[in-house]
């Protein structure tokens, strides 16, 4: 079996070798810029690891894995434009370096380039991989649509929030894992269990990210602490805060949410203190643990020797115990 580091190294090599040869070059510069920003490469790594659970060879998984990484970076490119984000991985976003039109058009080309890589999947798996990818891609657009719609709604439920993050984040991890299983000709039940594992670990991961946004260590968390609080994002925390708050706490929350000008540090402190009073950290940790436990059960159900699963468990722990 390949180690996690072998796999990451392989992915970086392959990404560096990607060639976008159709003219004009100016269309592909933003694509190369986006891919060179780095990132954890977790999605292609999951595809290669899932394949490697069943097959010592991982060559068949490389093209679809790269397709997913290109697709993921395409979603970041267009999402950053829609969210008017100035920075991505501490570098200016594509619409800042170039302009909005370039971000739209190069993003489109990037989505097509993702399909080009997916299209290079071995013929006997092509149809299944293509279907899975297309459904996943539509689901992710749906997740982004919900995310944008939730901004102007005040009645988002926990269930709706979980469905949004399932679509926006979890399905791509699930798809990545299942793709690896498919190209390795794993049993159908295993492919489905790996998909469910991806959903559960994806939900746990996103809820952890929301938690760290409030309670993370500013020194190691990639973004500024309190970002979600400042923009009134309807996270698991805020939704449950409203559900559990006393009338007085609700009033304080509403005041901060509706206030157009405020001292950011004061708002973060005030909202966090209500979260503390309502024990939302513990509630959140419990929910994360539930999804994590489910994910481990999904892994345990696979038809392969338990020791082969260590690499996936290790990666999950790395992702979940991270302070950043």
């Amino acid at each position: 079996m390949f180690s996690f580091n072998d796999i990451l190294q392989k992915i970086e090599q392959e990404i560096a070798q990607l060639q976008f040869t159709y003219p004009p070059k100016s269309l592909y510069e933003p694509i190369e810029y986006t891919l060179a920003l780095g990132g954890k490469r977790i999605r292609p790594a999951l595809t290669l690891m899932a394949c490697n659970l069943y097959n010592e060879e991982i060559e068949a998984a490389i093209k679809p894995a790269l397709g997913l990484e290109v697709f993921h970076n395409f979603t970041l490119l267009h999402d950053d434009l829609m969210d008017e984000a100035d920075k991505r991985r501490n570098k200016p976003t594509v619409h800042k370096v170039w302009n909005a039109n370039t971000a739209i058009l190069s993003g489109d080309a990037m989505l097509i380039a993702a399909y080009q890589l997916i299209g290079e999947t071995q013929p006997e798996s092509l149809k299944e991989i293509l279907n899975l990818f297309t459904i996943t891609a539509l689901e992710i657009c749906g997740g982004q649509q919900y995310d944008m719609e939730f901004e102007s709604r005040s009645d988002v439920t926990e269930e709706e929030y979980i469905e949004m993050i399932r679509l926006k984040t979890a399905v791509l991890l699930a798809c990545a894992l299942k793709m690896g299983a498919i190209v390795a000709h794993a049993p159908q039940a295993d492919a489905d269990a790996l998909y469910q594992f991806g959903i559960n670990i994806g939900l746990a991961f996103q809820l952890q990210d929301d938690l760290l946004d409030v309670y993370g260590d500013p020194a190691t968390f990639g973004k500024n602490i309190g970002g979600d609080i400042l923009c009134n994002k309807k996270t698991f925390m805020l939704i449950n805060a409203f559900r559990l708050a006393s009338e007085q706490q609700k009033e304080i929350l509403n005041q901060w949410i509706n206030q157009e000008t405020f001292n950011p540090a004061e708002k973060i402190t005030a909202v966090t203190s209500i979260y503390n009073e309502l024990h939302l950290k513990e509630l959140s940790e419990k929910k994360i643990q539930d999804y994590y436990d489910q994910a481990m059960k999904n892994l345990a159900s696979l038809s392969i020797p338990k020791e082969r699963l260590n690499i996936l468990k290790e990666v999950c722990e790395r992702l979940m115990n991270r302070q950043s």
Copy 2:
């Protein structure tokens, strides 16, 4: 064989039955709106007609044909946003009815939906159809990129312009025809000749459109006469005007191009009168005829009985003799 009207009717039926079932519905409303705006449906018609040249059955061509129509409408949706166009087929554009973010995201979903339909091609042709579609889609992005870049350049050559319209317009017609041939298992030489036919007829068609923008009948031309002149679009006409103009004519052209405020009717009259002096109508008509003749040669080279080609010829004539 099916008549052109049979084919158009079939396409409209199929488009009306397209279902976008993934939530949220709000993501797909702009897609349904765009597809319902109508249009000539020329691309899917070409796919079905090309298939019908070789096969009495056209069922196998329907999904890829619909994929091309959805793709074409996706490009219009994103191009209208990039060009800040307010109207499309006399209706407000998607970013006007909704907003820019909706246009970006629904456009993305529409591109994925196009791939979903392409992915439903019969298995034995899937890989070839998918490759052709992906290369074509990247070429079209390249054409749009050139088109946007040409706006800020004053040294665009005729050759560059022809290459831009080849990429932006002609390759999709060529792809549509070749797809029909592929799913009908036509001989490779025929599939290639139909592709070339599509390129030549596409170039003729776009040059005709440029010509009508200056010399068309305002009563029947879909857009306002002189639109290209008003926005200094580097068309075949303007590029050749600069190539052939005397120093004095160049000076007049440059004055109109660089003038920020002007009377539109005056500008159109002045530029058109230089086009008249330089006989650009005739030069343009000659170029169109050359491409048209080439296209007819491509058709004549096909391995099928000549009488089966009448429907394609008829459609070309309809497209080319149009005053609108």
